[in-house]
């Protein structure tokens, strides 16, 4: 089923859809679309040198750029052209398809891409095959030369991958799936059943992966295995069934162009000669050209898999109306065994279409570079309808010779897969002509009357510009006012406007404005047209436009900007963020300054000189409360000491906890050290030894599981007798655990546990909310708190205590001065931070 653009998985079956990836030119890793650099090797996926300057893109540059994107895989969607209904005022499908080539419509269709050459590809894509084409030229073996050649399947777009599959393994089962819907419809028609034997029909369908590379108009390809149709009978049939305008066209062709499927392109030079001999069986030349290509392809393929192609009756590829071109005998009594192999069926067709065929055939032969000239020389200039003939006379590029409208020619050159679109699908404009024009056209095929207004499909009439529409139809255009080289205005209006890159004309502009939704070319207009444009019904078109997410559009714009960067654009390099860390010299200077200042204070200042005149206990109001709280501890009473101090804070905590332990020793308390820190109890016990704790000491152990451990310990029977908990903490979280679990245990018991606290200075602001509640009986914080506790107990501070406090005061002011200086310097020097 069809899946919406951008989907990664099928919305029905859930299977992953192939998506576009970019192969790294350096390591080969497939990278996600959107990557500028390879995920694996960080190589740039799109080299700056390959980025087009926005103003003057040259084909070579485009090709060079595209060559770096060899691993494009377009989203595969089972294409169906049934839903493509041309809208009024829009281009006909066959023109549309040229402009917006189907990339993944039919796998089999993609075969045309291989045998259509550079002239049929846009430069950027044809350059993709430059090297391969040269190889093909050398070998001159078309069928064996897969255009993908060195490219791996994943390097190719889906439509090329489909070609590989079709060419290299014309598996019957898979080929059936590749039959376009319209061909499947043909299969079931009575006409086809009458024209083709069931066996050959099935064989044809099974090998459709090859044959429907040209879709319709392949009846002649079956010629080698079909009945030999007498030229006269064929001519009669054609006279009877061919639309008049085609019959007229055939008259121009039959003496000039012939197609020899057996000879193939190697005898391309002989085409015109044989045409004069074998023109009695006249399919249109352009059909013959196409058929010739196929026959040649089949011939070359037959060398590899002859059985797979035998019995193929490619008449099944013909639309109904073209089936009628095939002689009745051939359809009524096909006798494959009696068909001579070289049964060429040169038929007449407009040369402008035969040019296309010739071009493709030339490509198929591997003559990539010179086929255009050959065709130009060989094919008469004016074989199509006059209105197109006039158009082609001047407008067509040399490679397209004649007959093709200028814009069509450009599109054929410029769009990949354009040709197979025309070849595989019945052009709707021809379908329209089939039913309306055949009887109406005069056998003289006067251009001015041949295509009357009544003969034109409505959709084609709608395409006409107002001034033309006001006349009597396309055929009724006054050709007398047209110089043969003139281009009708309405056709001229359809031409791409030169010099405006990425912009088209009115109608095409509608399509071109739909940017590529994903892939490396996302955001580019009309470069890799989306299949949805072909498959979608007109009603769904607007919805699809609206459905393009904003992110995709932004991504497209990003890629567009990347691709439009000038060639000389330098790769942006992330600037190194300047570290906000001070230089080592500054760090050492600051450290040495403070260390020398401290050493000077410790060693050289007189003992009676004291800087800090403030009493520590005035700075620690909770010290007195803590003393009071611990004074209530009875001798022998178990007191849990939760040592929640990490190792780095051991020095500070020793100064804080020492007076507390000394106080508890005075109270002859039985201390039980516990901790949720592995080293906690050991540190506590070590401090107790340092203060020469004389009373009973216990190691309650390491409480594993953080707050679980605390809860388990407080809930155990051994803690039942405990009435007081002293928390010595340097970490706010562990302190919170203790406060919470003590509160929980107190609520469980019904009689509250007393909680006393001594914390480091670093944690004091964080636990301050707890210190102000009733849960805490008393608290001290920091070195100052320790001194305050001593003072509160009436101790006299030692020289070390006072000197250390002085040094600590100096350190605080030193740091404060540095901060102030830093602030002032920053305000004066300005912001010099991250660049």
């Amino acid at each position: 089923m069809l899946n919406q653009d951008g989907r990664r998985i099928c919305s029905r079956c859930g299977k992953a859809l192939p998506h576009t990836e970019i192969r790294c030119p350096k390591c080969g890793t497939l990278n996600r679309v959107g990557n500028v650099f390879c995920d694996h090797c960080n190589a740039r996926l799109i080299q700056p040198s390959q980025i087009l300057p926005p103003d003057v893109p040259t084909p070579a540059e485009e090709a060079h750029e595209s060559s770096s994107l060899k691993s494009i895989q377009l989203p595969s969607r089972a294409g169906s052209v049934e839903g493509s209904v041309p809208q009024a005022g829009e281009l006909p499908d066959w023109l549309l398809d040229l402009g917006i080539a189907d990339s993944g419509d039919d796998d089999a269709n993609g075969e045309t891409d291989e045998i259509s050459g550079q002239g049929s590809y846009p430069d950027w894509l044809s350059n993709l095959f430059d090297e391969d084409a040269q190889l093909v030229e050398e070998d001159e073996e078309l069928a064996d030369n897969d255009l993908s050649l060195d490219l791996e399947p994943e390097q190719l777009p889906d439509w090329l991958i489909g070609d590989d599959v079709a060419l290299t393994s014309p598996d019957a089962g898979s080929a059936v799936e590749e039959v376009p819907d319209w061909l499947a419809g043909i299969e079931g028609t009575e006409e086809m059943s009458a024209a083709v034997e069931p066996e050959s029909l099935s064989a044809e369908i099974e090998t459709m992966s090859f044959s429907d590379s040209f879709g319709w108009g392949l009846g002649e390809e079956e010629a080698p295995e079909a009945d030999v149709i007498p030229a006269e009978e064929g001519a009669e049939l054609l006279q009877a069934d061919v639309p008049d305008w085609l019959s007229k066209a055939r008259k121009f062709d039959e003496d000039e162009v012939v197609f020899d499927t057996a000879v193939g392109l190697e005898q391309e030079d002989e085409i015109s000669d044989q045409a004069s001999v074998e023109s009695s069986l006249e399919l249109p030349d352009w059909l013959a050209e196409l058929g010739g290509v196929n026959a040649e392809r089949e011939e070359s393929l037959a060398a590899g898999n002859e059985s797979a192609l035998s019995g193929v009756d490619n008449t099944v590829g013909l639309p109904d109306w073209l089936l009628s071109l095939v002689p009745g005998e051939a359809t009524a009594a096909p006798e494959p065994a009696s068909v001579p192999a070289p049964a060429s069926e040169p038929v007449a067709m407009p040369d402008w279409l035969s040019d296309i065929g010739a071009e493709s055939s030339g490509v198929s032969s591997g003559v990539f570079t010179k086929h255009a000239d050959t065709v130009e020389n060989e094919v008469p200039e004016s074989e199509g309808p006059d209105w197109l003939e006039h158009v082609v006379a001047e407008a067509a590029p040399p490679s397209l010779a004649s007959g093709v409208p200028a814009f069509l020619g450009e599109e054929i050159q410029g769009e990949p897969g354009a040709f197979e679109e025309e070849a595989t699908e019945t052009p709707e404009w021809l379908q329209g002509l089939e039913f309306t024009a055949a009887d109406a056209l005069d056998s003289s095929f006067a251009p001015d009357v041949a295509l009357g207004k009544a003969d034109m499909p409505q959709w084609l009439q709608d395409l006409r510009p107002p001034e033309v529409a006001g006349e009597s139809g396309m055929g009724g255009a006054d050709t007398s006012v047209l110089v043969p080289a003139d281009i009708p205005d309405w056709v001229q209006a359809l031409r791409p406007e030169a010099g405006e890159q990425g912009k088209g004309t009115r109608d095409r502009g509608r399509w071109a404005t739909l940017a590529e939704p994903e892939g490396p070319l996302v955001g580019l207009h009309g470069v890799l047209p989306g299949l949805a444009l072909v498959d979608m019904t007109p009603e769904s078109d607007n919805g699809r436009k609206d459905a393009i997410p904003e992110a995709v559009i932004q991504q497209a714009q990003f890629w567009q900007s990347l691709l439009e960067q000038p060639r000389s654009a330098e790769r942006p390099v992330a600037r190194k963020v300047r570290s906000s860390q001070a230089s080592p010299v500054v760090r050492v200077i600051v450290f040495l300054a403070f260390a020398l200042l401290s050493l000077f204070a410790f060693l050289l200042l007189p003992a009676d000189l004291q800087f800090v005149q403030t009493m520590p206990r005035t700075l620690a109001p909770g010290a007195a409360e803590l003393v009071t709280s611990l004074d209530r501890v009875q001798p022998g009473q178990r007191v849990i000491v939760a040592w929640e101090c990490a190792l780095p804070y051991a020095d500070e905590m020793f100064q804080i906890a020492a007076p507390v332990l000394e106080h508890l020793d005075d109270r002859q308390a039985h201390l039980v050290f516990v901790s949720t820190i592995p080293e906690g109890t050991t540190m506590g016990m070590s401090l107790a030894q340092q203060v020469r704790y004389q009373s009973e000491l216990s190691d309650g152990g390491y409480l594993l599981g953080n707050d679980n451990g605390i809860a388990a310990y407080l809930g155990a029977s051994e803690a039942d007798a405990v009435q007081h908990v002293v928390v010595l903490s340097s970490q706010s979280e562990r302190f919170r655990w203790w406060v919470e679990q003590v509160a929980l245990t107190g609520s469980q018991r019904g009689t509250g546990l007393s909680l006393s606290v001594a914390v480091t200075a670093s944690v004091k602001p964080l636990v301050a909310p707890y210190l102000q509640t009733d849960a805490v009986q008393g608290w001290i914080a920091g070195y100052t708190g320790g001194l305050a506790y001593r003072q509160s107990r009436g101790e006299v501070l030692t020289d070390f205590h006072t000197r250390a406090w002085d040094v600590l005061m100096l350190g605080h002011w030193f740091v404060a001065a540095l901060l102030l200086l830093g602030m002032l310097y920053s305000l004066i020097a300005g912001k010099k931070g991250v660049q």
């Binding site: 906000s580 860390q581 001070a582 760090r587 600051v590 450290f591 403070f594 800087f611 800090v612 005149q613 403030t614 009493m615 005035t618 700075l619 990490a646 190792l647 780095p648 804070y649 051991a650 020095d651 080293e679 109890t681 050991t682 540190m683 016990m685 070590s686 390491y702 409480l703 594993l704 599981g705 953080n706 679980n708 451990g709 809860a711 388990a712 809930g715 155990a716 469980q748 602001p765 964080l766 301050a768 909310p769 102000q772 920091g782 100052t784 005061m809 605080h812 002011w813 740091v815 404060a816 540095l818 901060l819 830093g822 602030m823 920053s826 305000l827 020097a829 912001k831 010099k832 931070g833």
Partner: protein
């Protein structure tokens, strides 16, 4: 089953029983709560063992890998961990050598690290306004300056005490709001786990 359903059921049951043990004054539930919490502490020991093995795996692997960075450091880490582990197992956590190692190596080293932090924090504070110049930075530095100067004032007139009372009120207001936010988050996360809405044990 083992990936999601059973672990969720186990987590919910354990959580609910423990919560009931806290809030429902029934002796049986209280006893069960204590037992269940003790089980969790034993499990935490195994989790610690798992973490230790993981550290060993990383650093031992680095020892045998050529061109691995800091191989010597990894070797020192592994040897130190094994040595201290053996010492603790043999002597206990309060053994003589263990205490000596603690007081001679661990405490000086970790304290030096903290002292180093003071220098680096100070220098970072001096450059803060250069990298982030806005009103909040000024307020931040103002709070730090006031706290530093008020930590150990040379003199302490009564007015300073009043001012510091307001400063502490502002600081405690912010911290209490922060604390309540944290606790509310803990409560909500815990309830989501107990109710099976969040399943961190199953990686969800």
């Amino acid at each position: 089953m083992f990936k999601r359903v059973l672990p969720t059921v186990v987590a919910a049951m354990a959580g609910l029983l423990i919560l009931l043990g806290y809030f429902v004054p029934i002796g049986f539930l209280g006893t069960m709560r204590i037992v269940l919490v003790q089980w969790a502490t034993v499990l935490a020991a195994f989790a610690l063992l798992l973490a230790y093995l993981n550290i060993l795996r990383v650093h031992v692997g680095r020892l045998f890998r050529k061109r691995a960075p800091n191989r010597v450091a990894s070797m020192i880490l592994v040897l130190a961990s094994i040595m201290v582990l053996v010492l603790v197992i043999l002597q206990g956590s309060d053994g003589e050598f263990v205490q000596a190692w603690l007081s001679m190596v661990l405490i000086p080293g970790q304290s030096a690290l903290l002292a180093l932090t003071a220098i680096t924090l100070t220098l970072a504070g001096t450059r803060l306004l250069r990298t982030r110049r806005n009103g909040y930075t000024v307020i931040f530095l103002l709070g730090a300056l006031i706290t530093l100067m008020a930590a150990i004032p040379i003199v302490y007139p009564p007015m300073v005490g009043v001012v510091m009372g307001f400063v502490d009120a502002v600081a405690m207001g912010g911290v209490r709001g922060l604390l309540l936010g944290v606790v509310l988050g803990i409560v909500l996360t815990g309830l989501r786990i107990i109710l099976g809405i969040d399943r961190p044990h199953s990686g969800e």
